[in-house]
């Protein structure tokens, strides 16, 4: 057996913590959960080693790098998995862990730092051969340059804050006359929100689709892609449904972008699992948006399709296991030619939110919880009967993933499984997912990021 870590610290909670522990169990590694007080008695920690980090609020628990690394040290863990969200893309956290002798399961801090900055990341990816959204070459010098660039790329354009996020510090200019005002507003908002008034400009692409590529790299320059995912069904930039392969993507465009993404990943010295996000415009071209330097929530969609050809035949691929192996210094045990992507997979994120009341989050106690099994159905969850959803964190309860030979088969299997989901005590987004999966526009692939196909439901009569 390969030389690995004996004890691995899980610097996260809930569903991803349970997910990481599953891979640890398979590899014979002891996972240790860092938990807040709000999570210490959660069902997913049962029978596990835990270190209590701090109170429920995340700034004194899951967002405190010192508490996390100290907890990893005192529980004698030699590796740390950051999961997603919280500090997963924080280069200072990665550095702190490595400084104290704890291997951070993610890319090197300098790569994370580069990809965390908007225009340097764009430039690096452009140089590595990826198609970008047309716009300014880096930071704008002022409204005059913004006007000149906008005239060149064509209206409407988007003025974006270099330090922005969550939709803040962005303004649309629909014509030349609007550029100066949009520039001033975006700058003021960015300065107030992020203490940084630097802006860049991109052509505004409306009605596109969100496509992303799963990548995996070892420390020795070996990089493979594991296909793409389509995450177009979103609400306020929160993904609701993800699937693979991306329906309607031109095979040539897919092949060219996958190859370019692999060489870009190698060019920046990336290590571990990562995802490049693209916008698919109406001309069918994929344009690079950003790279997520971590495991993604929707990685299961890829796992449900990916198989690796070995001497024992086709075996499933576990992305967390690969992250751990690569983090321990192993080479990828397979090449691109050994990766086989089969069938169609669709994932629904079941959140504790009421889709009929404006997606209001609903913390509270789940009296009874059941998700039916079925052919091609996978359920990733940390929830069990009696689980109390804490008010401090995100509302993800479970991911239900269906596999099928075709997109329709996967969609129908997923809808049937979600119809049988029982969550007594709290509303969930499952009814919305069923409506989307059975919606004619969704099935016909006639939608984009602007609206959710099949939701809200059309008024009867």
């Amino acid at each position: 057996m390969a030389v690995l870590f004996h004890r691995l610290f899980v610097a996260n909670r809930g569903e991803v913590a349970a997910r990481i522990a599953r891979s640890c169990d398979r590899l014979g590694i002891t996972p240790v959960f860092g938990v807040s007080e709000a999570d210490r008695d959660a069902p997913y920690t049962e029978g596990r080693e835990v270190v209590v980090l701090g109170p429920g609020r995340s700034d004194q628990s899951y967002l405190d790098p010192v508490r996390l690394v100290q907890a990893a040290r005192q529980s004698r863990c030699t590796a740390l998995h950051p999961g997603w969200g919280f500090l997963a893309e924080n280069p200072a956290f990665a550095t702190l862990a490595e400084t104290h002798g704890v291997t951070f399961l993610g890319p090197p801090a300098h790569v994370m730092h580069l990809m965390g900055k908007k225009t340097p990341a764009k430039r690096a990816m452009g140089e590595a051969g990826l198609r970008l959204i047309e716009g300014s070459d880096g930071i704008l010098t002022g409204p005059e340059e913004a006007r000149a660039v906008a005239d060149e790329v064509g209206y409407p354009v988007l003025l974006k804050a270099e330090s922005g996020g969550g939709g803040r510090g962005m303004r649309i200019a629909r014509s030349a006359g609007e550029v100066v005002a949009a520039y001033a507003e975006a700058q003021a908002e960015s300065l107030a929100a992020f203490a940084d008034d630097r802006l860049y400009l991109e052509r505004l692409i409306t009605g596109g689709r969100h496509v992303e590529i799963q990548l995996l790299a070892d420390r020795y320059g070996h990089v493979v892609h594991l296909g793409e995912r389509d995450c177009t069904v979103q609400r306020n930039h929160q993904k609701l449904i993800e699937e693979s392969p991306a329906p309607g993507l031109d095979p040539e465009e897919r092949a060219a972008t996958l190859a370019a993404a692999v060489s870009a990943t190698r060019a920046i010295g990336y290590v571990g699992a990562g995802t490049m996000e693209f916008l698919l415009d109406r001309d069918g071209k994929l344009r690079f948006m950003e790279m997520n330097t971590r495991l993604q929530v929707e990685h299961c969609v890829t796992e449900e399709r990916a198989r690796v050809r070995t001497e024992q035949g086709l075996v499933p691929l576990d992305l967390v296991e690969q992250q751990i192996l690569v983090g321990a210094g192993h080479r990828l045990a397979f090449t691109q030619d050994d990766v086989v992507l089969e069938g169609h997979a669709i994932e629904a994120r079941v959140n504790a939110e009421d889709p009929r009341k404006g997606f209001q989050p609903a913390p509270g106690r789940i009296e009874r919880w059941h998700v039916p099994a079925g052919e091609g159905i996978r359920v990733d969850t940390h929830v069990a009967d009696g689980y109390r959803v804490p008010p401090f964190y995100d509302s993800l309860l479970a991911k239900v993933i269906a596999r099928g030979a075709t997109r329709d088969e996967a969609a129908e299997r997923l809808a049937a499984a979600l119809e049988g989901l029982v969550c007594d005590g709290l509303p969930t987004t499952a009814p919305m997912h069923v409506a989307i999966l059975r919606n004619a526009d969704f099935r016909a692939n006639a939608y984009d990021t602007r609206a959710i196909p099949g939701w809200p439901p059309a008024e009867a009569g």
Partner: protein, 194 residues
């Protein structure tokens, strides 16, 4: 170099009248007060090592009593979680005085660094008549080390070194109190080299 800010333990009353002092954050805990030690507000509770930095840990306001239970790992550096119980104090075991004693250890400029009696009682420098004293002149002393026994109303209290204004580690210049002396609260016990 300035000393790191002290961490203040958290205090939680327990149903049986005792008080638990809890770790304010995770870390490696060392030099905690032994069983029987008297803890007063602001008194040293040892140090907490967080990513290599040694942070002094002190008792919070309202925490007074004798240590009747403590972390039982027996390790010199015990890993503790957030809100792990470090020590359990019994306020009654220290007699009625303990509740309102102020840590009598304020160092006075005129006399240099002085460790004072936290409460009134008869001073015993050694654990029993035929054993060596706890502390002798010239010896190095660290927070949490036993200084003496004080007999208060027929009960013996173990007094440990530490408190506001005193260094975590120091050298004893002189043992001021004599074996068998009746000390008032705040009477000097040790003079330290400054």
């Amino acid at each position: 170099m300035s000393a790191p800010d002290p961490l203040v333990a958290r205090r939680v009353g327990r149903g049986d009248g005792t008080v638990a002092l809890l770790a304010p954050t995770g870390g490696l805990w060392r030099e905690g007060p032994p069983l029987g030690a008297l803890v007063t507000p602001g008194a040293a509770l040892g140090r907490l090592e967080v990513l290599g930095e040694l942070r002094p840990l002190v008792a919070p306001p309202g925490a007074a009593g004798l240590v009747v239970a403590r972390d039982e790992s027996g390790l010199a550096r015990a890993p503790v979680d957030y809100e792990s119980v470090l020590v359990v104090l019994d306020p009654d075991a220290a007699g009625s005085v303990a509740a309102d004693v102020v840590a009598g250890t304020e160092a006075m400029a005129a006399e240099g660094l002085v460790f004072r009696a936290p409460l009134a009682g008869r001073f015993y420098a050694r654990p029993s008549p035929d054993e060596p004293p706890f502390i002798e002149a010239g010896q190095e002393i660290t927070a949490g080390a036993t200084v003496c026994l004080l007999e208060v109303m027929k009960t013996f209290h173990r007094v440990s070194y530490g408190g506001a204004g005193l260094p975590e580690r120091g050298r004893v210049a002189r043992v001021i109190a004599q074996d068998g002396d009746d000390l008032d609260e705040g009477a000097p016990i040790l003079a330290l080299e400054s």
